[in-house]
Symmetry: C2
């Protein structure tokens, strides 16, 4: 019998009706002859409710106590799902993360999984149970309750799939798979049957967020096949898996749009070794995440440096950048919030040439000016004017023939 | 430094404002130089909310899963209280029942505490922490989460006080102590400074419910001084302690009224050995609790048997009694819901004579007819007509001079 790990997020178990629907679906999978481990998040907006309570109590909650508080959300949902499965006449047993030996480090609120002792789950599976595990949580060696940070339930599912040698890890969500582009932008965007870990990592970090990058990294590291599918519709979803030769037949897998970044430019940066390092260290010390960085030497003794940051961090970033600019004797600093980043991703780029020139060509043809370019082995990102972002996605999508046939 | 265990019930931590108030009070006690272990129940009506959820999912929730679900309530409140204490600048750390080694048997939803391994609490206390423990919960030897049933947080507090050799266990509640009678019935009812375990056990089971009987039994068994006091007002409350000679100076400690019982009478029960046993076995087999039982032989070969049951169980009780009556060849069965039980309690009864006659005398003087009488070493209970119950309490209270001087 194949072992499958299924993960249902908070929106899939937002209320009693949905819990019952998940129970029905889980029992169906079990009755098809599979062994099943189900990972569940907290009910709907439970976590937000708990955060609000903590917020009302104190402005600086202790992280250990925060984990203690937040872990209750998932514990409640596993118990309720077990009850709903019992009601359908199937055997099920729920466990907290600590109970099934999900051992983590001590970094409360963003702990990393160190090890999983699967003996208790193995025993429960042998007894014929559907095993339900609270996502997002674990324990330290000294039995402290920890949580795994945003998207932690995905991580629990993938890590369990690895530890239990599961055939597959299924992530149920409110979209029915991964698309060549956001269907809200590109009407004929096509659902991908399969995509590689690397591609989805690029797509996820670029705005097409379906799963947390950390979980996909773990999936990639241990080669766990991950299937993203709808918790409502019965489609097959998209399989995230290791690269295979067939994938390389396709030059481009998808086009993503990110409108959450802003561009900062520092003019007249002294062109000496160590200056850029100093600037970006100051920015990092302020806890600002920097994405694309472009340096272009245009003058004799100075250079201009541009980079993008999250719009939500722009104000703090500008403070840090001004400080850094003065410290290194650079010139003016300007920012532009009206940008969009369009990224084209595909493992096929490795074996196909001419993808970049095709991208630049189609953008030029539509009079979309490229402000910044950054490329990796399987990705080309272009920053364009904010109001041209959606159009850029559409024309590239069409140019590479990604739409439904 | 004296070690004190304090317990705050759900109404004391019903919202953020009250959690902060509890935190303030706890920190005050700590700053007076005490070591402190604080036991907390779930926030306000959290438990009811969880029960409703379970109820919406299934009509017969598995008890193991129920414990999993309900234990989240207390876990959330200890974390929030720890945060509130931190906010006041004091050191505090929260633990679940399982984390502090409250070992129970496997009787889910009504587990009994078998042992408490105090090493983790000891360590946290040595580190200067106010230690906050989730009430109502424990774990089995195999790390299953259990709950202790209604009033379980009181039990956690008393058991911890015993295990930690605490000087005192303080139960904070919404009344400011134990009174000679219900102040709603007797306007000059007086708060008792001290009362014995046995007296409070009789008073509690008779309707003056302040604490669960089980917790008081544990307190009595291990001689843990328990102080019941208001979580709002700053009075000393009432000390529940072992009997002392001074207590015996007082004939009667309190008068309790119970209007929740109904009387059932079986007429013409064959007067043969084993018949009563057969009747009450049938009733017990139906899960019906029987309180007072009176048998009075008035005819030659038959006898009438009366007993009281909870009104809430009356319908089921009558079905069982009819069955039992037919089986033993007894006669008619009648019930009377219009009764009240008045109980007079006091360890002084052991050494003073004439308490019973004084009770009967004052009731007769006020033309209150006694339908049933039952006595123990420290208690006299009389069943009277329902509409005379409150009057009976008042006249007995006055006759024994229990009111404020």
């Amino acid at each position: 019998m194949a072992l499958i790990v299924q993960k249902f997020g908070g929106s899939s178990v937002a209320d009693v009706k949905r819990i019952k629907r998940v129970a029905k679906r889980v029992v169906e999978t079990k009755r098809k002859g599979n062994r099943l481990v189900v990972v569940v998040s907290a009910l709907g907006d439970t976590t937000d409710g708990l955060l609000e309570l903590a917020d009302a109590v104190t402005d600086r909650p202790d992280e250990r106590e925060m984990d203690m508080l937040l872990a209750t959300g998932e514990q409640a949902s596993v118990a309720l799902l077990a009850m709903a499965i019992h009601k359908l006449g199937a055997k099920a047993i729920s466990f907290t993360g600590p109970q099934v030996g999900i051992l983590t480090d001590k970094m409360h609120t963003k702990a990393r999984i160190l090890d999983i002792n699967t003996s208790r789950i193995d025993r429960a599976l042998r007894d014929g149970n559907i095993v339900i595990v609270a996502g997002f949580q674990g324990k330290t060696e000294t039995e402290e309750i920890t949580t795994l940070g945003r998207g932690g339930s995905d991580l629990t599912a993938v890590a369990l799939a690895k530890a239990l040698h599961a055939k597959q890890c299924e992530i149920y969500t409110d979209v029915d798979g991964i698309y060549t582009a956001d269907p809200k932008i590109v009407s004929d965007a096509r659902k991908l049957d399969a995509v590689s870990y690397d591609e989805i990592l690029e797509l996820a970090s670029l705005g097409a967020q379906v799963m947390q990058s950390r979980s996909i990294e773990v999936g990639k590291k241990f080669n766990v096949p991950i299937r993203v599918r709808s918790s409502i519709r019965r489609s097959k979803g998209t399989l995230i898996t290791k690269e295979n030769p067939k994938m390389e037949d396709v030059m481009v897998s998808g086009v993503a749009l990110n409108e959450n970044e802003a561009k900062i430019t520092i003019f007249k940066v002294p062109d000496k070794p160590g200056v850029a390092a100093k600037i970006f260290k100051t920015i990092a010390d302020h806890g600002i995440n920097v994405d694309m960085i472009i340096q272009n030497k245009t003058q004799t003794n100075t250079t201009d440096i541009s980079f993008t940051v999250f719009k939500s961090e722009l104000k703090r970033a500008m403070d840090a950048v001004w400080k850094a600019s003065r410290a290194v004797g650079a010139g003016q600093v300007v920012c532009d919030q009206n940008i969009a980043k369009v990224s084209i991703v595909g493992v096929g780029m490795r074996s196909h040439t001419g993808v970049a020139s095709k991208v630049f060509g189609v953008l030029a043809k539509h009079k979309i000016n490229i402000e910044m370019i950054s490329t990796s082995e399987i990705k080309i990102s272009c920053v364009v004017s904010g109001k041209k972002g959606k159009q850029a996605v559409r024309v590239i999508h069409r140019e590479f023939g990604l739409g439904r046939k």
